[in-house]
């Protein structure tokens, strides 16, 4: 009996930090946020429970269009990160051996030693009207006047891909690393060409890595605030900006909290749809 209660106590103590962390920092704030999002101001310091804040999102075109734009651009950024990251990962995992492999893998990691803010400012120094690239093009005689390369969607996209690359490359390298070379050789030996071997052997094997990389990149891009604001300017219309505006500028916490929950719900829905489409399950991907 005593033995049993001792084990129980040990288990409880071991679980305590994670339980406290989840309860105090994740569950409690979210419950409170949910309460906030569900009330409607009817007068000074007078509130009523209603879905008005959620309804507002669907009736005001600006809001849901901003969300749609955010989601679509995040999906594009995810796909582009995958398209660029896959060959990079394949090269690191399968074509290289030993020191060169570790070196290139480390190179992917190096940008993350600098804070995201500094990295984004780095892009601004390169791309702004009086920036490095604009001056270089003028000096080479390619353009006659200064060129502004900031504050457009293409630049935001570049920023997203740059920020996300590592989160795509890491899971891809580890799944591709586990692909036995002889499977690829067998694919060729039995008459496959580069395309069929990629489609029938390499991609099915890498699928868990592809899916987990895509989920991480999609969620990070969707919830990104710095990149769209700094590279896209005030009119970048990113959904996180809307939330920020509601909370800080408009001091409309009720609306901001509702938007936060909508972002959570809608992005989870998109991830779920993506998993269904790729016939993967979350446990498969994480395991």
């Amino acid at each position: 009996m005593r033995m049993q209660s001792a084990t129980r106590l040990a288990l409880f103590l071991l679980l305590a930090p994670i339980v406290l962390w989840l309860a105090l920092l994740v569950i409690l704030p979210h419950v409170d946020m949910f309460m906030v999002s569900m009330r409607e101001r009817v007068g000074i310091r007078q509130y009523e429970y209603s879905f008005a804040n959620y309804v507002e999102f669907f009736v005001e075109p600006l809001y849901w269009r901003t969300f749609a734009r955010t989601a679509i651009m995040s999906i594009i950024a995810t796909v582009m990160t995958l398209l660029i990251g896959f060959p990079v990962s394949y090269y690191i995992a399968k074509m290289l051996r030993g020191r060169m492999k570790n070196f290139l893998f480390l190179l992917c990691l190096v940008p993350f030693w600098v804070s995201e803010l500094v990295r984004t400012f780095g892009w601004m120094i390169l791309l702004r009207e009086s920036g490095v690239i604009s001056n270089l093009m003028q000096w080479m005689g390619l353009v006659s006047g200064p060129v502004e390369m900031l504050y457009n969607d293409a630049t935001i996209m570049v920023g997203f891909i740059y920020t996300s690359m590592l989160f795509m490359v890491v899971p891809l390298v580890s799944t591709l690393d586990s692909l036995d070379d002889s499977l690829v050789e067998a694919g060729y030996d039995l008459g496959g060409n580069a395309f069929t071997v990629l489609r029938t052997i390499i991609i099915p094997h890498a699928m868990p890595g592809i899916v987990s990389g895509c989920i991480v990149v999609f969620m990070l891009t969707l919830g990104n605030y710095l990149t769209p604001v700094l590279l896209g300017g005030k009119d970048s219309l990113w959904f996180t900006e809307q939330i920020y505006t509601q909370f800080i500028t408009r001091f409309n916490w009720e609306q901001g909290a509702a938007f936060g929950f909508l972002l959570l719900g809608l992005s989870s829905l998109i991830v779920w749809a993506g998993l269904r489409l790729s016939r993967q399950t979350l446990s498969q991907t994480m395991g």
Binding site: S182, A186, L190
Partner: protein, 382 residues
């Protein structure tokens, strides 16, 4: 072997003066051979001798530094692996885990562009022939090691290749299954009538299954012949030492003539042997002498061995009981050297005890003397 054109027609697979170097290291050194149609041809050698390199060059995964590879009389050196009419069974089998058994077998047929009903028919008949008629829908992991083996071979054989290349496919199996698969592989080869090129470091695999065996060492072929040839008439000291078990002495020639070779071994034993190998033996030259354990007569009394040219008195160190392959380890009373001796199956020696004195004898015809090659290390012992 290499020049007559009508002869090369007989070969499904032929290598001519094949060389592959990695920097200064010569992995394959001027190897030429032909594999006749329907043959079970093995390349036998210790690990690192270059046998896998030869196989990978034949499959197209590696390119020879010089020399030519011909399949059905046509050079394939510039043909990529997916267009070569040979298929390979990999050491770890390399079955595709993302596909079912049937999809694995169909993979090559789909790549060939056959229509669906033909593919289904061929897969069905292949599954029947390997004794897994109902396993088509299973995943690879549901099969046992031996079943996976058969699927890996069937996956290649449905493509009707000119030759099947096998890279030590039994290496990963446990002993019992390996013995069983040796017989099974031989049966499959008869059934499909395909030429097999099999590489292994396990001499019993090579001897049991093959029609022809090439013994390879340090990038070169030492000897090509039937398993019986290699066992009873080795051309070189390496083959004598590597194929089958053997006792071995190193010594110096006292005299050599038609009646035999008199040798004094390094530990002082006088031996009479028969000259073997291509290098003639000269007086004072270094030689290696090989005697098979089953050629040595063991007796408790001296009379049984009195008529033999070589005789040794020794003490029994231990009995290595292994059913029909039981051996006795005998220590030479004068030199302290140890000998491996096969025990006759009559049971007459079942009473032998450790430390008991025994007499050993063997004729000069059973002892083969090879000139020791100073350039090459023949490091494989008994």
């Amino acid at each position: 072997m290499t020049d007559a054109t009508d002869e090369s027609e007989l070969y499904d697979l032929e290598c001519r003066n094949l060389v592959r170097t990695f920097g200064a290291f010569i992995a394959v050194d001027d190897v030429s051979f032909g594999v006749p149609r329907g043959d079970f041809f093995s390349i036998l050698g210790p690990s690192g001798c270059g046998k896998t390199t030869i196989l990978r060059m034949m499959a197209g995964f590696d390119r020879p530094t010089s020399g030519d590879i011909l399949i059905k009389g046509k050079s394939v050196v510039d043909v990529p692996p997916n267009r070569r009419p040979v298929n390979m069974v990999f050491q770890q089998l390399a079955l595709f885990p993302m596909m079912t058994v049937a999809e694995n077998i169909a993979y090559g047929l789909v790549r060939k562009g056959l229509n669906k009903t033909d593919i289904a028919d061929k897969v069905k008949s292949a599954l029947g022939r390997i004794g897994l008629p109902t396993s088509g829908g299973k995943s690879i992991k549901q099969l046992s090691g031996g079943q996976q083996q058969r699927v890996a071979i069937a996956r290649c054989l449905v493509l009707e290749p000119a030759a099947l290349l096998l890279d030590e496919p039994l290496g990963a199996l446990d002993l019992k299954l390996r013995e069983h698969m040796k017989v099974e592989l031989k049966k499959m080869q008869d059934q499909f009538g395909t030429t097999f090129v099999y590489i292994t470091h396990d001499q019993s695999e090579a001897l049991v299954m093959s029609n022809h065996v090439a013994v390879m060492n340090k990038g070169r072929f030492e000897q090509i012949g039937s398993p019986q040839d290699l066992y009873y008439h080795p051309d070189t000291a390496f083959v004598a030492g590597f194929v089958g078990d053997t006792n071995r002495w190193h010594g110096r020639v006292e005299s050599a003539d038609a009646s035999g070779v008199k040798v004094v071994s390094a530990d002082g034993v006088n031996l009479i042997a028969t000259a073997a190998g291509k290098t003639p033996l000269v007086q004072g030259g270094e030689v290696d002498i090989f005697v098979r354990p089953e050629s040595v007569v063991i007796a408790t009394g001296e009379e049984r061995v009195s008529g033999m040219e070589n005789r040794i008195e020794g003490d029994l160190v231990s009995i290595l009981f292994n059913g029909a392959n039981s051996r006795a380890l005998i220590r030479d009373r004068h030199t302290g050297g140890e000998l491996d001796v096969a025990l006759p199956q009559t049971g007459e020696f079942s009473h032998l005890k450790r430390g008991q004195a025994v007499h050993l004898g063997w004729g000069k015809a059973q002892a083969k003397a090879f000139a020791a090659d100073a350039r090459r290390d023949q490091g494989v012992g008994t």
